[in-house]
Symmetry: C2
Subunit: 243 residues, 2 copies
């Protein structure tokens, strides 16, 4: 039975971190909300979110359905899928490390989101643009470098080489770091102009992921949506500035 | 060897979710940054955060040290400690459900934090007060009820009774829900005036936790700091309003 991924159609968003893992592994999955098949599409996702019979319906997408089990939250889904997709370390302690790094990415993503929605997710960007400018300035000057410095430092400091974020093999954390670099470059081209020079190990992880056969095929397919101003990473030139 | 909890002194903050679990279980632990013992205190925490030899230093507190293993992030720490402290379900699938609920709490806590710091964590509240008023208004009108409605719904809908958030036994998720209710009541007394009436199952979970012997003893001890305006939950009357 294929995995069922539930996430909004029309944007990469948080669902993309799951897609990258499923695609890299060549896993059998259905992207339910994007599917035209009978009984699928957005309405199938809303049925689960609003269900009165599911024992533990999720708060929000993305969520994964594997048989009867419904798992919510990117880090939780990847923690579950990682070993099954051969994208997590063998070692139990390193799996907790991977989860900690993924949750650091989760925090970072929430801050990226709030650059364009610092006041209210229920309001349009245009109605909070002035606050968004202030928050984006702080993000570019303080928060983005703090997180990127951290990941670069981990890559250099970890005892088993800088090729991967955890241990010596590719994991879902590497895939998520790739997505972060891609997203930042789209949203903040000026602020990330020197990223490759300032963060060589992160750039190398990004490049490794980008050239994996399955990822390359995925990125070239129409399953990979373009970044756009509906997602987490949004390009509004007025929020960008030189680093 | 006792568990070592690392978190800032002087505030409950995110560390409190870990403390509640350790205290409920009567676990042997050291609250390192608050300890006056030689080699401990804040400087011991900073040594790990800035270490150039730790294989995977954490991004930020709280983190837990168990022997050589350092685990970061509240949800990850609780996922690790839960089974050891008898505060997680036996069933593997329910452990993933618990983790999903805890990550929903993590998201909620981040939004609570941003009610008083919507623009920049590096700036004082006073310098972002106008944005904070807007964000708090949206939080009270939209976000707080959305999250509380969700948890109340889960408690009613789950097949094994509303006494606990997951399964039929006390888990770390219940302890975290208790802390959320306590924190919201402190920060937003007007907005939460009808909480017990509107969220009876949540209120019941809160009360159950509050009257556990070990929690009662902890709350009465000087290990439990008062809420204050250094923590996640802050009481600024100008951010509160009737629900």
């Amino acid at each position: 039975m294929p995995y069922e991924l539930y996430y909004w159609d029309g944007l990469q968003g948080r669902g993309e971190f799951i897609r990258l893992a499923l695609e890299e592994a060549g896993a059998d999955y259905v992207d339910v909300a994007r599917s035209d098949d009978p009984g699928q599409g957005i309405s199938a996702m809303m049925r689960i979110l609003k269900s009165k019979s599911e024992p533990y319906p999720p708060f929000a997408p993305p969520f994964l359905k594997d048989g009867d089990l419904i798992i919510s939250h990117v880090a939780n889904i990847l923690f579950y899928l990682g070993p099954k997709l051969n994208l997590a370390p063998e070692d139990e302690a390193l799996r907790l490390i991977a989860n900690g790094l993924q949750l650091t990415i989760t925090d970072f993503i929430a801050e990226v989101h709030d650059t364009h929605h610092p006041i209210a997710t229920t309001q349009y960007y245009e109605d909070q643009k002035e606050a968004a400018k202030l928050r984006s300035k702080d993000f570019i000057e303080h928060r983005m470098p703090k997180f990127l410095d951290y990941f670069e430092r981990i890559l250099h400091q970890k005892p088993d080489g800088s090729a991967h974020a955890v241990g010596r093999t590719l994991s879902y954390v590497d895939l998520s770091l790739f997505q972060i670099i891609e997203g930042l470059r789209y949203a903040f081209p000026r602020a990330t102009a020197n990223l490759a020079k300032d963060y060589p190990a992160l750039q190398a992880v990004h490049d490794t992921v980008k050239h994996r056969d399955n990822i390359k095929a995925y990125l070239a397919s129409d399953r990979r949506l373009d970044f756009n101003t509906s997602g987490i990473f949004r390009h509004y030139p007025e929020l960008d500035q030189d680093a």
